[in-house]
């Protein structure tokens, strides 16, 4: 064997490398294992009869004709499920929060169109759907509330009779003297911003398969979930089953984006039915169900204003936010997560000393609001960055310049934002500078002037933002949420064949964590990437975990992986020191080998493992008693988390006759810490921006005055295709690394956080000759038409 020291080992070997993904061969060849692919002997299928009323009492349900349909196995109403599953609600320690019980199947009343009212279990989904039409339900309609401003009024009909009102949460933030700031301002700008309802639209709709082993009294749930640990822990309470007898597995999952981070009613129903019938039970959402029942997002009304001094320095910001959160407070995040994030992130990466904001989360007869990529931050950035552009226009200042003057500088970190969040450190100014350089900002302004002279409507957009990622136990992901989201566990084990398995409590929906975490673990241990198997998304694999959300995969998974790998490596070194007769500090690892520095004494990790586990007497008893095995479990708590920031810039053009928006150039410059795999990091930016483009230009969930969902197909809920998303440049700035283990920051949500603001600013810039400011998203051609007509007329 060639002495390893002769091999030029440059570190890092794998961190930062463009490693092609290990997931790809199976996904490319149709060998992925998605929940809808799962088949079990004797499996039965569920279809739900769903409410077509937005708010009504259920007077009677007659399932007799449905039961008679050949192939129907069983039928369950809300009362049936209530006997099989304990009730649950999403709690929060936040003041002024009202929790709602969420019946898995509606019992006395329905509160949104699409709410499940009956579950039909049959031999096939086809037959189950046939039976649905035979169910007769008598409803007594109640007044429907679809306008949150109506719903929050005192005296409005209550969605939940046991609550005091429809305002499920209320909170205020305040710092400094905002009214003084506005009184002394050289200029102010503001108005009512409306960010409308969105739904995540994963190409794989939600699905669950539950199996109950009658003998072992053990339940297994295969589920398209991002949060297997949270689901398992709650199912344990709902079904009075101890943890070890519930296993939640998220296999290959086709996208999540937050839409699969909630506990859904269907997950409880399949488990309840599986236990009741002792048969495997499958439910696969169809697209119509998905568009009506998967957690919605972004339905926020923000009245906001900014006050600046003559030189463009921000003096103060105030905001009043109404979050329309739908019919129930979703589990586990509560109805609070999005609206409160809108105000807590509103100050953004800017220096703002005077701030006041109020937020109310209001229940309406619509689909529940859950978490979707960016959560409240796309709205925060939309409002703050629109305010900046609006006031900049009033004082005749360039939008990039007003940001330069107000972005927190490097020497001000750690910076406590006006809402109380702390930015540890991040390259706010460098991102802005490099975005301007990257897109050729000065040249673009010149091109814009020339284009305008030609009658073309060209606009340039800028948006800067900051977010907290990898947030540890210091701050709950959702305010006052009692569930611990601040830690993750990694168990690394090397077995007697020398194989490395690293198990995590997080789950993957396409982020490539089987590859990135293998890179991190391999780097730290000193083995090859291909020799590390990553286990994700299985609650039986680690003692505790929650899942993937809030851009925490790299920080938590990477950090816990490094800690566990270090611990295992220490053991490897000790054993190697003995076997190679050297001091521990002279042992080096790399490429799956261990050796004594400066010598040719070496062995493979595989041989070392065999020596420890399988060969009699090679490692002394005393040493084995101390180290036990080549295994370690570590829990990582990043505590504060870390700031990720970016600047987006874009060039758009609007057809002056059709009002269609074309995105000509797009650049993202981000500080996302140490990049594990540039292929994957860039891919996350591309995907996030694409979703941001959808939100900015075309996606809107629409309910009519009766609460009917008008956007219940992909013809009506419009997501971007390859034609509507441009090619974009993604640049990672070279900046000081955060203090997280590994130096990682989260980056999954950033594209969606910055894009709506950037595009809205560009459209406003293009339409500025008309004095038009974009206040409502999506900025569809129809909306632009109305704004231009109003401006002309």
């Amino acid at each position: 064997m060639t002495p390893p020291d002769d091999i030029s080992l440059t570190r890092p070997q794998f961190i930062g490398a463009r490693v092609v993904r290990r997931e790809d061969p199976r996904l490319l060849t149709g060998a992925g294992n998605y929940v809808a692919d799962i088949k079990r002997h004797g499996m039965v299928h569920i279809a739900f009869r769903r409410s077509d009323h937005a708010h009504a009492l259920i007077k009677n349900i007659d399932t007799s004709a449905a039961r008679a349909v050949p192939g129907v196995v069983a039928i369950y109403t809300g009362a049936d499920i209530a006997r099989l599953a304990n009730p649950y609600q999403a709690t929060s320690r936040m003041k002024n929060y009202q929790a709602t019980y969420i019946p898995p199947i509606a019992t006395e009343k329905v509160r949104y169109v699409g709410e499940a009212v009956v579950a039909v279990v049959a031999e096939s989904r086809y037959v189950a759907e046939d039976a649905l039409a035979h169910i007769v339900i008598d409803y007594e309609p109640l007044a429907v509330l679809v306008d949150p401003e109506e719903s929050l009024k005192p005296g409005a009909p209550k969605l939940h009779d046991d609550l005091a009102s429809n305002i499920l949460a209320e909170r205020e933030f305040s710092r400094g003297e905002v009214e003084d700031a506005f009184a002394n301002a050289a200029e102010t700008a503001g108005g009512r911003f409306h960010f409308t309802r969105t739904t995540p639209v994963t190409i794989e709709a939600r699905a669950s398969v539950a199996e109950y082993d009658r003998g072992a009294r053990a339940l297994t749930l295969h589920c398209t979930t991002q949060i297997p640990g949270i689901v398992r822990d709650k199912l344990s309470e709902v079904f009075d089953l101890p943890g070890p007898r519930i296993r939640v597995i998220a296999p290959d999952v086709g996208g999540g984006f937050g839409g699969k981070t909630s506990l859904y009613s269907e997950e409880i129903v399949v488990c309840a039915v599986a236990r009741d019938l002792c048969k495997p039970v499958k439910w696969v959402s169809d697209r119509m169900e998905d568009l009506m029942t998967t957690g919605n997002a972004f339905d926020e009304i923000v009245d906001a204003e900014i006050a600046v001094a003559e030189d463009g320095t921000i003096l103060g910001v105030k905001a009043d936010v109404i979050g329309d959160i739908g019919a129930y407070s979703i589990y586990p995040w509560t109805a609070v997560i999005e609206p409160v994030q809108v105000v807590s992130f509103l100050p953004g990466p800017y220096r703002i000393e005077n701030y006041s904001a109020r937020v109310r989360a209001v229940a309406t007869n619509k689909t529940l609001t859950g978490a979707y990529r960016g959560v409240g931050r796309p709205i925060s950035v939309f409002v703050m960055d629109r305010l900046l552009d609006m006031v900049a226009r009033k004082i005749g200042m360039d939008p990039a310049e007003i940001r330069r003057r107000n972005l927190v500088n490097d020497d001000e970190f750690p910076y406590k934002a006006a809402s109380g969040l702390v930015w540890d450190k991040s390259a706010f100014q460098a991102c802005l500078r490099e975005a301007a350089d990257g897109i050729g900002y000065e040249e673009l302004r010149r091109e814009q002037t020339a284009a305008r002279a030609d009658g073309r409507w060209v606009g340039i957009g800028v948006a800067s933002y900051a977010e907290l990622t990898g947030v540890g136990s210091r701050i709950a992901v959702a305010p006052g949420m009692p569930i611990n989201t601040g830690t993750e566990t990694c168990t690394i084990a090397i077995d007697s064949t020398g194989s490395v398995t690293a198990s995590f409590g997080i789950a993957s929906q396409g982020q490539g964590m089987e590859t990135t975490l293998a890179q991190v673990v391999a780097e730290e241990l000193g083995v090859k990437v291909d020799d590390v198997d990553i286990v994700l998304g299985d609650t039986s694999a680690v003692s505790h975990g929650t899942g993937t959300y809030a851009s925490r995969g790299a920080v938590f998974g990477g950090g816990a992986g490094i800690l566990a790998a270090k611990a295992v490596r220490d053991k490897i070194v000790r054993v190697a020191g003995h076997l190679l007769e050297a001091a521990d500090e002279d042992i080096e690892t790399g490429n799956g080998n261990v050796w004594v520095k400066g010598t040719d004494k070496s062995m493979s990790v595989r041989d070392l493992a065999r020596a420890l586990y399988s060969d009699m007497g090679r490692v002394p008893k005393e040493m084995r008693d101390e180290i036990d095995n080549l295994e370690a479990t570590k829990v990582y708590d990043p505590f504060f988390g870390t700031t990720t920031s970016a600047c987006h810039m874009c060039l758009i053009e609007i057809d002056p006759e059709t009002y269609k928006v074309f995105i000509r150039r797009y650049i993202v410059v981000e500080d996302c810490g140490r990049v594990i795999n540039p292929l994957i990091a860039d891919g996350q930016a591309h995907g996030g921006v694409a979703q941001g483009i959808g939100v900015a230009l075309m996606e809107e969930v629409i309910h009519d005055a009766n609460g009917q969902v008008l956007t219940a197909s992909l013809v009506d809920y419009v997501v971007p295709s390859a034609v509507e998303v441009p090619s974009m440049d993604v640049v990672h700035v070279d900046a000081e690394l955060p203090n997280t283990i590994g130096g990682f920051r989260g980056l999954g949500e950033g594209g969606t956080i910055g894009a709506p603001a950037c595009i809205a600013n560009a459209i406003s810039d293009a339409l500025s000759p008309f004095g038009i400011e974009i206040m409502e998203i999506p900025a569809t051609p129809e909306r632009i038409f109305r704004l231009v007509e109003a401006a002309k007329g």
Partner: protein, 284 residues
């Protein structure tokens, strides 16, 4: 979203199809490409006890040249065949252009011209092309054969003059005068979507005088619409007058994809564009 149960008949000849429709007592439906019909079946918006699959009737597909530069296109001719047909491209370049906007390749591989016309979505391209090009729809039923002019074929959204037992056999497109210019513009939210509004024009000129004008509009009325007032205004007053007249002729819907006002606005803008393109081409 699984379809309801139905009985299935595979017809291998027109007579077999007619017999199956007759046996269905007015309740049987034809299944051709299925690209518009099957989604509705999956949503359970369309239901029938019997579906008669006519995809196997080979004689219903094909493109034949007819006198004076025309084409007879079999009802079962797939969109992709039209898209790539040299005969279509040379004789009816406006139809060739329209085909590029029809949905996506996978849809075009299966969808048929007979199916699209029978489905009669006012926002679809082929119905608008049929009225633009003065097509004759050739049918057969238990009462015999007939030809229906395109302008009489489309009655209301998703409603045609076809009887329940009537089958479209072919569509006759009479040839265009030599030197005719054309224009086609479709506005949709995304590539391949149904038109929010669309306009197509054919223009014949004598020197710099317009002698014949045809304007067809999609997505802005109950049916595809020949903007006859617009056509007359073009000859009498020019492009702007024609666009304004076309705008006044339509009664668009308000829906999720566009308001009536916005659609009227698009009619004027797109009509202007297609007329400009057609005139420029015809003048060469």
């Amino acid at each position: 979203m699984k379809p309801a149960p139905f009985e299935y008949v595979r017809a291998t000849s027109v007579n077999e199809a007619l017999a199956a429709l007759a046996a269905g007592n007015g309740e049987a439906k034809l299944l051709a490409g299925g690209q518009s019909l099957v989604p509705m079946m999956n949503f359970r918006l369309v239901d029938a006890p019997v579906f008669v699959d006519i995809n196997g009737i080979a004689e219903l597909a094909g493109i034949e040249a007819t006198a004076n530069g025309g084409l007879r296109i079999g009802a079962l001719t797939r969109h992709y065949t039209l898209e790539t047909s040299d005969a279509v491209r040379t004789r009816f370049p406006v139809l060739h252009e329209a085909m590029k906007h029809v949905a996506h390749l996978a849809i075009r591989n299966r969808g048929t011209i007979g199916g699209s016309l029978s489905h009669a979505d006012p926002a679809a391209e082929l119905p608008a092309m049929a009225v633009l090009l003065n097509a004759m729809i050739v049918t057969v039923s238990s009462s015999g054969g007939r030809e229906i002019a395109a302008e009489d074929f489309f009655l209301a959204p998703l409603t045609t003059a076809l009887e329940p037992d009537e089958i479209v056999l072919a569509i006759d497109f009479p040839g265009l005068p030599p030197g005719a210019g054309w224009g086609f513009e479709e506005f949709a939210q995304r590539r391949g979507d149904f038109a929010v509004a669309g306009a197509a024009a054919v223009v014949v000129m004598d020197g710099d005088r317009v002698t014949e004008a045809r304007i067809s509009l999609m997505g802005v009325h109950d049916t595809p619409l020949r903007a006859s007032a617009g056509e007359q205004a073009l000859i009498a007053g020019g492009i702007d007058a024609a666009a304004a007249a076309a705008r006044r002729e339509v009664e668009p819907m308000n829906d999720l994809h566009g308001s009536a006002d916005y659609r009227r606005h698009l009619v004027e803008a797109l009509t202007r564009r297609v007329l400009r393109a057609a005139i420029e081409m015809a003048a060469r």
